[in-house]
Amino acid sequence: MTLTREQIRGDIAGALGEDPADIPFDENLLDHGLDSVRIMTLLEQWRREHGVEADFADLAEQPAIDAWAPLLGAS
């Protein structure tokens, strides 16, 4: 099961306790309260459920959905 951009946004919104609609695709997620623990939690979840191969540094380097989508194999 590959991820989609919407799924990514939904999971991030869940981790932040926000409405997915409030999470823009192109903005720095750190400004929305994302932190290393949440990134790690999301990464574990995506590895488990979607066989993602990216690592923590990949995601933490450019914390935005647009940047993550190719790393997470989302179209």
């Binding site: 306790g17 750190l30 932190d35 623990v37 574990e44 690592d55 933490a60 914390p63």
Partner: protein, 1317 residues
């Protein structure tokens, strides 16, 4: 035995991974993060504490050669692994080598031996790792890391890597591991590894430099400065701090998978992450375990998000303080919310270093921590495999542990959370860590299972087993007692043993029958005035037979007695009479009590009660009726009357009799004032048991010598001392001959262990019992028998009969053993409450949540903790109440009295160095204020000093900053004094050099002058170079000024030569005219050091010593010549008078001669004190058998008569046994003394005195002496004024012993005070 096959694999690697000779070296400064680690290592260069290490368990086939190749490539890619660090004059620098050898050893631990235990491979590997971790790392030599690969099974490997914390942090490890796995997997598959992804060290350094010169740095500094401007105390689970140790203790636990699940679920419900929940749980635990409502935790932060550091293995992490308010009323959800917001705030300022925050706040200089326990959450990415072989990481060392660190690892490997409690071994035993961990995990479990919307007060930290122990087990004190009263058993005793001695006072001896009859007659008289059960009768009679008769009479009439200390000020007495409304007041004579309260008086003087029957009066008295009312200090300024019922005190005395068993042979000393509740058992316990009561004279309780005599002469077997008085008694009184003494009780304040042990030495056959209890619980509720040579704090002990003790936290939950909390008391002995103060009573006597319905408990305000053995230790107060010499002092009451004075706007009181000090604003004259208080308050509530201030110092949040209040005696002015002696001079110079400060004074503290930890390292190095002395950084914290360091170096046994100069500054500081003290025959003035100490700060004292103790100068020919020389030295210290001079022995003759010279030069000499010194003509015709012997003189200077010492070695041995500093004299000095002593004997005999115009203060060593012809009267011709004499019961040398110096110093101080010093 299996022999491990060990293959050292080392190879030179360079960037790019190919073997090559060592390439060029790049030099870089350290980042701020690295500097912190460098400094920590420099504190203790041989400490291995900075070694961090991990072990990866790899399950699967592994090719060791390929693995080594992978390590070589990763080492070549990771800059920090190739640095070494050198200290340079400009600070530490890191040298980045292009290529280094990778230290890797491979150990095959598979059992080569068939019968070997296959399971021991892992323990052997772990033993190797532990040994490696214990090796300190040489930063200057490098490399700063090491690898080992252990084959512990066919397809099982352990990869150990150890890296110095200066170059690696926890996140850095995860980068190294991921890259190693990636490179290995590629190489194993025969592929080219993906290109290097690491950033460079230079990038880290550049980023650090950029930040430190940025606006963000300035803003961050301001943020932290603001956030912690009030410098909160760090919460310490061990109750104290310690310097970092070289190792740490660790206890590991795993959170069960379902608990981990519930934790994540609770995090989701509170809209937080699981680390937030863990931090909140730790905050709750810490707050409860340290009895605080606010805690500051340390949060290690990876500090890499949105930064190049994300891809640089290295040392970046930072510890930041998180301050949390933990109120019992708040919910856990609210606490978690505080954490979420707090962490968010921290993250905005997370680049500012913890070391810098501490420095900015001035905590570095005080060696104070800012944070309590660290909560180190490491959710690092370890989801890796080695060509398909899965790996699990295990941390072995996360770096030094200052106090306590809770490490929580989430390794993304599906095993749930691992929790390590790491503790500093100087603070925590393994059992302590285990207890903290079990309680923390238990609390976490309950929090995860519970409703986060419930108040925190629903949670305690004790485990169920601990709670059962402290609430039930330790309090099993139930005991059936008959329903009697305080007085009933006394009357039955009188009926049974009418002829036994009941009371001794002076020459009076009363039998039980006589005492009973007198009390009965007075009781019947009192009844005619309204005394009956439930009524109160005041008694204001000084200690005497009449006092005992009066107290018994009140009780016999059925009333409660109210003791009124006749020494109390009139206003206080009036207040108590008006408040208590006694039906009458018994006094010994008219005019004893103020008349304005309108209380009917019963004046014993002239009262005839012979018309009344001498038999026991009938009365309807029950155990529930009040027995006495005792007033104690009240925090609002009004003293409060504690009403204690008969049942309570009866229980107390029955327990006491059962425990200590008084017999008819015993004699109990009554010396405690009747207004202090200890007197209750002194008065009544012996009379209930047929023993005799020995009364001390009024005021006698303050005179140790009198008490010792009384105990001896009256064969006292039982008595009480407040600990501070016991200390004085042991030091001053002659305890020999107190043969009848069997037991001594202490209570009223904390009993120091030293006092208890001194007691054991002085009175080895006497029991010492430490008791504790407030007036509100019938005198005492706990007891502890002191061992003769115990260690550690003296416990207040176990509960007495029918008494329960609770140590409760802020949520009124029981504290486990070892955890401090407030002490609550419950059971039979509680007072009814405070007279006429229902609200105050309700606030201090609450419902007992652990007792039967309707049971009450009393809140003591005392901090205490249970020991594991079920005794209680007293730790201090939760409020501003203090105890001074056993007396309860509510600072609020003192402050209220200060504020009540005209011209006082604001007031504050505190205790400094065992003395009560008041501070006032508003322009009132402090002397007048103090005098006014002395008229209003009992002596113990009157401040020793009142200091007038312009305004009170306030902390940044507007509260009174008590730490900033000035000491009542000011030392020195704004100008620094000149260094005293060459050592201080050198140290002052080194301070100037290292700190770059113009002219530091000898009393300026290093850290106040801008000293940093790095500079401290340099200073210690410079001191080592100059003095050849090894000081630790720790000693710089303890002795931060040149003067203090000089003293420390002197203690370290270095040359003491400047202590042999002519002028010896025993105390140079102080504004008053100095006291010059002249040496005795041996020439050395060290014997006056004790005098300087006793005269206290503010009074300078200089010793004057003979020439020629160090060098080979010629000795003076006449005393006149010698005195003239000394006048020159004295004038160099103080150019003009008035002069104050003192001398012992030959020093007295010198002092007198110097005094005449100064007067002849037109100067004023207003004090001449002679200590057992006699004028020349007394000696002239006598040979000098004593003074002629140098060894005798040396012994005398140390305060000893010469006994059996024959040789110099004998003498030195005696001095060493007595720890005398004279034992350290060099051979040269000793041989000079051999010359100096007879020279003095000769000069003294040839000297002719000229008259001194003034009085002489004389001290006579009054013990019989062989030279019975010596008399101070011989001074008459040479003194125009009076010779005021003080006799001391000692020999000539003993005059310099402590107890006699006390007397000398007291007389001197009184005289100096008269002079207006």
């Amino acid at each position: 035995m299996t022999t491990p096959v060990t293959t050292p694999v080392t190879a030179l690697v360079t960037a790019g991974g190919r073997t090559a000779p060592a390439g060029p070296v790049t030099e870089l400064p350290l980042t701020a993060a690295q500097s912190g680690m460098w400094y920590a290592q420099a504190l203790d260069p041989l400490s291995p504490a900075q070694n961090t290490a991990e072990c990866l368990e790899i399950d699967g086939p592994l090719d060791a050669a390929v693995f080594a190749a992978a390590l070589r490539q990763v080492t070549a890619e990771a800059d920090v692994l190739r640095v070494r660090v050198e200290d340079t004059p400009d600070g530490p620098r890191q040298h980045l080598c292009a290529g280094i050898e990778v230290p890797l050893t491979v150990h095959d631990l598979r059992d080569a031996d068939a019968d070997a235990d296959a399971d021991d491979a892992v323990p052997r590997a772990e033993a190797w790792m532990r040994a490696d971790l214990a090796e300190p790392c040489d930063l200057a030599a490098g490399p700063l890391f090491r690898h080992a690969l252990f084959r512990v099974g066919e397809e099982r490997w352990l990869w150990y890597q150890r890296v110095h914390h200066l170059v690696m942090d926890g996140f850095g490890y995860s980068l190294l591991v991921r890259r190693t796995a990636e490179v290995y997997s590629a190489l194993a598959r025969g592929e080219e590894p993906a290109p290097r992804t690491f950033g460079t060290l230079a990038e880290l350094v550049a980023q650090d430099a950029e930040y430190r010169s940025s606006d963000a740095f300035v803003a961050d500094r301001a943020h932290w400065g603001r956030a912690f401007a009030d410098r909160p105390e760090a919460p310490r689970l061990a109750g104290r701090g310690a310097l970092p140790s070289r190792t740490f203790r660790r206890r590991t636990a795993y959170l069960a998978p379902d608990t981990t699940e519930r934790l994540r679920d609770l995090a989701a419900r509170t809209r937080a992450t699981w680390p937030d929940v863990l931090i909140a749980a730790q905050a709750l635990y810490t707050a409860r375990a340290t009895a605080r409502q606010e805690v500051v935790l340390g949060l290690p932060m990876m500090g890499r998000l949105g930064s190049v550091a994300l891809r640089v293995p290295g040392m970046v992490m930072n510890v930041l303080p998180l301050r949390l308010a933990v109120s019992p009323d708040a919910t856990f959800a609210e606490l978690v919310r505080q954490v979420v917001l707090g962490v968010r705030e921290i993250r905005r300022h997370q680049r500012y270093r913890y070391e810098d925050i501490r420095r900015d706040l001035g905590l570095l200089g005080e060696n104070r921590s800012l944070v309590g326990p660290l909560v180190n959450v490491m959710p690092f990415d370890y989801g890796v495999d080695f060509a398909g072989a899965p790996a699990r990481a295990r941390n072995l060392s996360a770096g030094p542990v200052d106090d306590l660190t809770v490490n929580i690892y989430d390794r993304a490997d599906g095993r749930g959370l691992r929790v390590d409690h790491d503790g500093n071994p100087a603070l925590y035993e393994d059992s302590d860590l285990a207890a903290h961990q079990e309680r923390f995990l238990g609390l976490l479990d309950r929090l995860c299972a519970g409703d986060p919307q419930l108040p925190l007060s629903t949670h305690g930290i004790a485990t169920p087993a601990e709670e059962a122990l402290v609430v039930d087990e330790f309090n099993r004190t139930d005991r059936e007692v008959p329903p009697t009263t305080l007085i009933g058993p006394i009357e039955s005793r009188a009926a049974r043993t009418p002829d036994a001695t009941a009371l001794l006072y002076g020459d009076s001896v009363l039998t039980y029958a006589e005492l009973n009859a007198r009390a009965n007659r007075l009781a019947r008289h009192l009844r005619t005035l309204g005394a009956r059960p439930g009524a109160v009768v005041a008694v204001s009679v000084p200690r005497s037979v009449e006092l005992v008769v009066s107290l018994l009479a009140v009780l016999k009439a059925g009333a409660a007695y109210l003791p009124l200390d006749p020494d109390y000020p009139a206003r206080r007495l009036t207040y108590m009479l008006q408040d208590a409304q006694p039906v009458c007041a018994v006094t010994d004579r008219a005019g004893r009590l103020p008349g304005d309260a309108g209380t009917p008086l019963v004046v014993l003087d002239g009262l005839d009660v012979s018309a009344h029957l001498p038999v026991d009066p009938a009365r309807a008295l029950t155990p529930a009726h009040p027995a006495y009312v005792i007033y104690t200090s009240g925090s609002t300024g009004r003293p409060k009357g504690v009403v204690v019922p008969h049942g309570a005190i009866d229980n107390r005395l029955r327990w006491m009799q059962h425990t200590y068993g008084l017999t008819a042979e015993d004699r109990v000393l009554q010396k405690t004032p009747s207004s202090f509740d200890v007197s209750v058992w002194e008065f009544f316990w012996p009379l209930r048991e047929g023993a005799a009561l020995v009364l001390a004279e009024p005021g006698g309780h303050k005179d140790p010598a009198y008490l010792a005599r009384l105990i001896r002469e009256r064969s006292v077997s039982t008595c009480h001392f407040v600990p501070s008085m016991l200390q004085v008694f042991l030091a001053d009184a002659d305890t020999a001959g107190c043969d009848a003494l069997r037991r001594v009780f202490c209570s009223g304040e904390a009993l120091p262990r030293e006092t208890a042990n001194a007691f054991g030495r002085a009175l080895p056959d006497v029991e010492l019992h430490n008791l504790y209890g407030p007036t509100e619980a019938a005198v005492d509720v706990t007891h502890h028998a002191c061992a003769p040579a115990g260690t550690g704090p003296v416990p207040i002990g176990r509960p007495v009969w029918n008494t329960r003790l609770y140590v409760l936290d802020a949520a009124l939950q029981p504290c486990p053993p070892g955890i401090p909390g407030e002490l609550f008391l419950a059971g039979e002995q509680l007072a009814d409450g405070y007279l006429n103060r229902p609200e105050l009573t309700a606030s201090r006597f609450a419902a007992d949540p652990f007792g039967a319905p309707g049971a009450r408990m009393y809140r003591t305000g005392d901090l205490a903790r249970w020991t594991a053995g079920g005794e209680v230790e007293y730790l201090g107060r939760t409020d501003h109440q203090v105890k001074l010499r056993g007396q309860r002092v509510e600072l609020g009451e003192v402050e209220a009295a200060l504020t009540g004075q005209p011209g006082v706007d604001g007031a504050c009181a505190l205790v400094r160095e065992d003395r009560l000090v008041g501070y006032v604003t508003g322009g009132a004259d402090p002397t007048t204020v103090r005098a006014a208080l002395a008229r209003e308050l009992p002596e113990h509530l009157v401040p020793a000093a009142v200091v007038a201030l312009e305004a009170f110092p306030l902390s940044p949040n507007g509260k009174l900053d008590r730490r900033e209040l000035p000491a009542p005696v000011y030392a020195g002015g704004p100008d620094a004094r000149r260094p005293a002696g060459p050592r201080e001079e050198t140290l002052t110079r080194l301070f100037a050099e290292v700190l770059g400060v113009e002219r530091p004074g000898p009393d300026d503290a290093f850290f106040d002058l801008g000293g940093t930890s790095l500079l401290a390292v340099r200073l210690v190095n410079r001191i080592r170079e100059e003095f050849g002395a090894e000081l630790t950084i720790g000693s710089l914290f303890e002795a931060p000024t040149p003067a203090a360091l000089a003293a420390r170096l002197a203690d370290a046994g270095l040359a003491a030569e400047d202590a042999l100069d002519v002028v010896l500054p025993l105390r140079a500081e102080g504004d008053r005219p100095p006291l010059f003290a002249f040496h005795p025959a041996g020439g050395i003035a060290w014997c006056y050091a004790g005098l300087a100490a006793r005269l206290g700060p503010g009074q300078p004292v200089y010793g004057i010593q003979a020439r020629g103790l160090i060098g080979d100068e010629p000795l003076p020919r006449t005393l006149q010549e010698q005195a003239a020389d000394y006048v020159g030295h004295i004038r160099a210290v103080r150019p003009h008078g008035p002069y104050r001079l003192l001398g012992w022995s030959v020093g007295g003759i010198l002092a007198h001669t110097v005094a005449t010279l100064l007067q002849e030069a037109g100067e004023t000499v207003d004090l001449l004190a002679l200590l057992d010194a006699f004028p020349a003509e007394q000696w002239r015709e006598r040979p000098a058998p004593e003074e002629g012997d140098a060894l005798t003189a040396v012994l005398r200077m140390a305060g000893f008569d010469r006994a059996g010492e024959r040789t110099r070695d004998d003498v030195l041995a005696t001095l060493r046994r007595a720890s005398s500093p004279l034992a350290g004299l060099t051979d040269h000095t000793l041989s000079r003394i051999v010359d100096i002593v007879p020279n003095h004997a000769r000069m003294m005999r040839e000297h002719h005195h000229r008259p001194y115009d003034g009085d002489v203060l004389f001290f006579t060593a009054a013990a019989p002496r062989p030279e019975d012809w010596l008399t101070r009267e011989a001074w008459r011709p040479h003194v125009r004024g009076a010779v005021v004499n003080h006799d001391l019961d000692c020999t000539h040398p003993q005059l310099m012993r402590d107890r006699h110096l006390d007397t000398v110093a007291a007389a001197l101080a009184a005289r100096l005070k008269e002079l207006g010093a």
